[in-house]
Subunit: 376 residues, 2 copies
């Protein structure tokens, strides 16, 4: 028997990967995963990149893409420049780099409850000691022993679709600066806005050490695997070295292609169309939920992002429902995958993605869920 590292004991089968696999079965109605609507990139032109990009490139990423992103980040209020933008092979990679940067076995990590499951997986793997974040008073639980880092998704959180208030954002920024806690803000959904809300990045008001990251998986296309981060000057050089050690640099052709798409004169119009289409899908989904699960569960219509967070009435067993739904060709994600710590109050929750399935197929899937719940 090979001897494996301690952290392998913490390695659980990834629910994300399993769901991506199951959701690719042709007849499955999938509310699992976070697949963007394929229509959102069906009209993308993929230009042929210049041939000199076939050679090795810089670990930081392509200079002109970094400069473009620095401008966008500055417009959000973030104090950065092109020299502090790092191109990632998808924003999942940023989670891996941040964990390597800050987490030893037993390091305290403040997280939301619920939180993004694939981030919990990485942090757990590096041995993080999860501390649940109190958004109204982050410092409450930190006295004498603040965590080394806080990992948050304040804008259209995955899985809840919620959006932090300005007061909550300010409280976290202040708490992190005062207690020397690294503020790690993951912001892949910010452009998918369905209703007005405060979207100012918490990192725009950070006073200490911080990492902010974004993704092109929702606004361009996930198959390109392209994301980016920026960070405070004390952290950036380490993150760059960790990136180099992880995969030298990100695919240069994808970087070039995304920059052409971002610079395209029709970009703003295209994004408005994509956002409108997601809002429409959200509203159709909400109507189907009302019709099929009304009285069986509670939820709020999300102000952005790709998910509904649904709490079933007491007495409905989610795991059993998950199994029976799968047998009927309907897939969703049980809420306990998103828990950093056991939480009885989260029993009976599920995350439903509204972007991947068509409204008609979604209605069909929700009808099946409603039937199964009623059958008990």
């Amino acid at each position: 028997m090979a001897r494996l590292s301690e952290r392998i004991a913490d390695l659980r089968g990834s629910p994300v990967r399993a769901m991506l696999a199951a959701s690719q079965q042709p007849d499955m109605i999938s509310f699992a995963g976070g697949l963007p609507d394929a229509d959102s990139f069906s009209d993308l032109e993929i230009p042929v990149p210049p041939r000199d990009l076939l050679q090795y490139g810089p670990s930081e990423g392509e200079a002109d893409l970094r400069a473009h992103l620095a401008g966008e980040l500055q417009a959000l209020g973030i104090d950065t420049d092109a020299d502090r933008v790092l191109i990632l092979s998808g924003s999942q990679q940023g989670i891996d780099l941040a964990a390597k940067l800050a987490i030893d076995r037993g390091s305290g990590l403040a997280v939301e409850q619920p939180a993004y499951l694939a981030a919990l997986q990485v942090f757990r793997f590096f041995g993080a000691d999860f501390r649940l974040l109190d958004r109204t008073d982050p410092v409450a639980g930190w006295s004498g022993d603040p965590p080394v880092m806080a990992y948050v998704t304040p804008t259209f959180q995955n899985p809840t679709g919620g959006c932090w208030t300005a007061a909550e954002r300010g409280a976290l920024a202040g708490a992190c600066a005062a207690h020397q806690v690294i503020l790690f803000e993951d912001d892949p959904y910010r452009d998918l806005v369905s209703a007005p809300c405060d979207r100012r990045p918490v990192c725009a008001d950070a006073g200490g050490s911080w990492i902010y990251q974004g993704s092109f998986s929702k606004t361009v296309a996930p198959g390109l695997r392209l994301g980016f981060l920026t960070a405070s000057p004390d952290l950036f050089p380490y993150l760059l070295q960790l990136k180099q050690a992880a995969d030298l640099h990100t695919n240069r052709l994808a970087q070039w292609s995304v920059l052409q798409i971002l610079r395209h004169p029709g970009r703003a119009r295209r994004m408005a169309r994509v956002i409108g289409s997601y809002r429409h899908k959200r509203d159709r989904f909400a109507a189907s939920l009302d019709r099929e699960l009304g009285g069986l569960a509670q939820w709020e219509v999300p102000v952005g992002g790709l998910f509904f967070w649904v709490r079933l009435n007491a007495g409905v067993e989610v795991e059993a429902l998950h199994r029976r739904a799968l047998a009927r060709g309907v897939l969703f994600t049980p809420g306990d995958h998103f828990l950093a710590a056991p939480d009885p109050s989260a029993r009976g929750t599920m995350r439903l993605n509204f972007s991947a399935a068509s409204p008609a197929r979604a209605a069909e899937g929700l009808a099946i869920l409603g039937q199964l719940i009623r059958q008990g």
Copy 2:
């Protein structure tokens, strides 16, 4: 001050990244880095990929690319199939995954001396305790306390360009199986063969747990960041989960493009041309070395790969030469970057890449090195 992980203390500035950056200065004659000859992909057609690859894909990689690679790996004698091929975002990623799989702080890792510097960097970062490998008798230093893993590059080693004998390959395979040591074979240069030698993968004769990885950076193009690994059945599921946690999956367009290139009817002819061109460059480089550094240093003409390993005569200070050469626009890699442990006998060594510069530019750079050495 943010509190960072223990492993950040082990994080050194990456010589690879620094050299890639310096080597991209336009007038530099670079013998550093491992840049393939840009001519080797100047004629590559980059086809436009199908649009459905813009969606998320499987963590394992694209099914048809995996099947193609399984066939190539089986032809090398490796016991695998398509289900045990994992597509990587460059083979550097495989080193990160293997370190996560096996290395805790203090875990024993057998390595060659010298060894690939960016692998040493990753393993050091995860806290490996390096044990120098004795190729003729690997078990000699293992009694009672075998390492958890052996990391080797038997075919056209980076930096030496050497190639292990069949006896050495057999000895390592047997030793790893007998002592439950994971055999990790890194094989990015195997196709760049300049003279006949035994290239049978050590993993083809592995009896225990093993990982074998390859790269398309040298045989297709590095800017695509594409590599692959296969592993014994006990290890593969963990490596797949680690890949998912690292970046979900590799860029799908790059996977598709490389498969088209591998399947192209002109592929074998193209590879023969590329290999012939590297052999020609190697021979021109050897002739320039004879002319410019003859009597000042010793070296062997490499049987494959991209590097000459040069030992300067006693009394020449490599670090001083490196500084003075850089000032004259010539870049090389001092040999001590490739050492897992201090080694007085490695003093005065340097690695010279022969593939990036044209033969004329290389001759010019070597003439400058010769002048500087003679000036003392």
